[in-house]
């Protein structure tokens, strides 16, 4: 199928929305649009960050997912208590593949699940005492923890527990940071508010810890990686590039990060923001309070990585800029070889994405480097500022969908017929059963890293492995094949 025109995309949207009741149709229309390069502000063509419709199948998460799962969870030397009933923590445990270095259960705790396991009596009589006891037990059992965060689940806000008071008391008692996070799942329309709440908790309870302390020796080349969750080792493959350039990475937020790194971040010279959606809040705060500028960068695919490395280098002196060029030249043969190998196998293939955070726009460049085209993209929980940034990246008249429902996504795929879909685990098996190659773009489908030049090689291999997998030709039962196809098979086997 060739490229769709704007009218075709618009009529497709109308066609798909036909089955909804009038009111739902009116609401959903606002979230779906063909991309328009002439629109400067996304809010004129697409509505985002609004409550999902009751009755549709949304792919969003909750504020707890945004705080515990995304922002706080990867901080490896802190213990994150899922405060409330056991399920929220247990069913999301270790699902995000935030890699870290450390001995789990001794000095690192990312993949473990700590919960206050609320029972009926805790709901009736309040859970503060249980929480206090839990923190004491943690101190006994895991003395090498560097702090505790209390990630509230829905009941905490509903019954009005005072977790801040417990946090303050236990901070004084144990001399370790205890952070109460009011990220009850019912807050906001998606995980996005959870990111914001988590950022605010960092700001209020962690960030200013070393304001009066100058003992940390700084260099003019100190930077922090903000919003890289080290999925499959992403932050590591980003970090080596920055270090080879001569920069010193003081902190990783929050993949493979520690609370000490977070406390030192106000001492850096530049904040490098990868996931704008989840960490722009704290970057803006640091800019205001500590006068640390921040820039957004993109380490997916060589074109964007080179662009970003140069952009980062331009904030430093000539030695860094020169080293930046050296780094680029050193890796050029590597990525040229990757492109030479995989581009012929992937050229012209069309991709539809539906993910969260930064990926709906950031990975476009990586696909383009492989000669592939992104024909549709959308955010689970993006805001207007995300779509502002996306409009420029996407081709004209390509499909944009915000908080797409399960039904809409399926119908779009049936009409647009992409060669590959990138989305999450909940979508994976539906589309695979429909016979469409699929990659999970949340957890890199248990692969990764995808960031940086090293990551690109893995990215290219994974896309090839999925798209050109022989299994896609075997989906139809032999007796259902048309004669032409059967003849072809005979000819091939002869």
């Amino acid at each position: 199928m060739s490229v769709m025109s704007r009218d075709e995309v618009e009529s497709l949207i109308q066609e798909v929305l036909e089955v909804y009741p009038e009111k739902a149709k009116k609401d959903r229309t606002k979230h779906l649009t063909p991309n328009d390069h002439e629109v400067e502000q996304s809010k004129k063509c697409i509505t985002s960050n609004k409550k999902s419709l009751p009755g549709v199948m949304t792919i969003r998460g909750c504020a707890y997912a945004g705080s515990k799962g995304v922002v706080w969870g990867p901080v490896k030397d802190m213990i994150h208590i899922s405060h409330g009933p056991v399920g929220c923590g247990q069913y999301s445990r270790a699902g995000r593949r935030n890699y870290y270095i450390g001995t789990t259960g001794v000095n690192a705790f990312v993949t473990m699940n700590f919960t206050s396991d609320f029972q009926e009596k805790d709901i009736v009589f309040g859970g503060d005492k249980k929480l206090a006891k839990l923190i004491d037990e943690i101190e006994t059992l895991f003395p090498l923890n560097k702090g505790v965060t209390i990630q509230s689940e829905c009941p905490i806000g509903l019954i009005g527990d005072d977790i801040e008071a417990v946090a303050k008391k236990k901070t004084a008692e144990h001399g370790k940071t205890v952070v109460p996070v009011r990220c009850e799942g019912f807050r906001g329309v998606s995980q996005s508010l959870g990111h914001h709440i988590a950022n605010d908790a960092v700001r209020d309870w962690v960030l200013s810890a070393r304001d009066e302390d100058d003992s940390f020796e700084t260099t003019p080349y100190d930077v922090a990686i903000i919003g890289d969750y080290n999925i499959g080792g992403d932050a590591w493959s980003s970090r080596i590039l920055l270090e080879e350039m001569g920069l010193r990475v003081v902190a990783q937020w929050s993949g493979d990060g520690t609370i000490a790194e977070m406390e030192l971040t106000p001492k850096v010279k530049l904040n490098l923001v990868h996931c704008y959606r989840s960490m722009n809040y704290i970057s803006r705060h640091m800019e205001e309070k500590y006068k640390i500028p921040w820039i957004e960068y993109n380490f997916f695919g060589p074109t964007k990585t080179v662009e970003s490395l140069r952009k980062i280098a331009s904030h430093f002196d000539e030695t860094i800029q020169q080293k930046c060029e050296e780094v680029i030249e050193r890796y050029r043969p590597e990525w040229d070889a990757v492109i030479a190998k995989f581009r012929p196998r992937l050229e012209g293939k069309r991709v539809m994405l539906y993910v969260g955070g930064l990926r709906p726009r950031h990975v476009i460049g990586a696909y383009e480097d492989l000669g592939m085209e992104v024909v549709g993209t959308g955010y689970e929980f993006g805001h207007n500022d995300d779509y502002d940034r996306t409009i420029k990246e996407m081709g004209d008249a390509t499909l944009l969908y915000d908080d797409v429902t399960g039904y809409e996504f399926e119908e779009f795929v049936k009409a647009v017929k992409p060669d590959l879909i990138g989305s999450g685990i909940k979508e994976k098996y539906i589309f695979q059963k429909m016979g469409v190659p699929f990659r999970q773009m949340h957890s890199w489908d248990y692969s990764g890293p995808y960031h940086g030049f090293d990551g690109f090689a893995i990215f290219a291999r994974d896309m090839d492995m999925t798209l050109n997998n022989p299994c896609w030709k075997k989906l139809q039962a032999p007796w259902k094949k048309t004669e032409a196809a059967a003849d072809e098979a005979v000819a091939a086997s002869a």
Partner: protein
């Protein structure tokens, strides 16, 4: 009365950001932009406006201030 943050973006243009409203917009004009008086009516690129009680000195950006929704907004 939302809290708004005024900052200079990478290109050096002044922008106004309201977290609660997902608003990140270029500033077209500020009523008072003198050394000893800064603030007043702020007009944005999308046509809306905010009113910031004038400060007695030009602030160092970025800065978070309380602002009222302007008449046009």
């Amino acid at each position: 009365m939302p809290n708004v943050m005024i900052r200079k973006d990478e290109a050096g243009k002044m922008t106004l950001y309201v977290a609660k409203r997902d608003l990140e917009e270029d500033i077209v004009s500020i009523e008072h932009e003198a050394e000893d008086r800064w603030g007043g009516e702020i007009t944005l690129a999308d046509g809306s406006s905010y009113y910031v009680e004038p400060l007695t000195a030009a602030p160092s950006l970025p800065i978070t201030v309380r602002a009222k929704r302007g008449e046009a907004g």
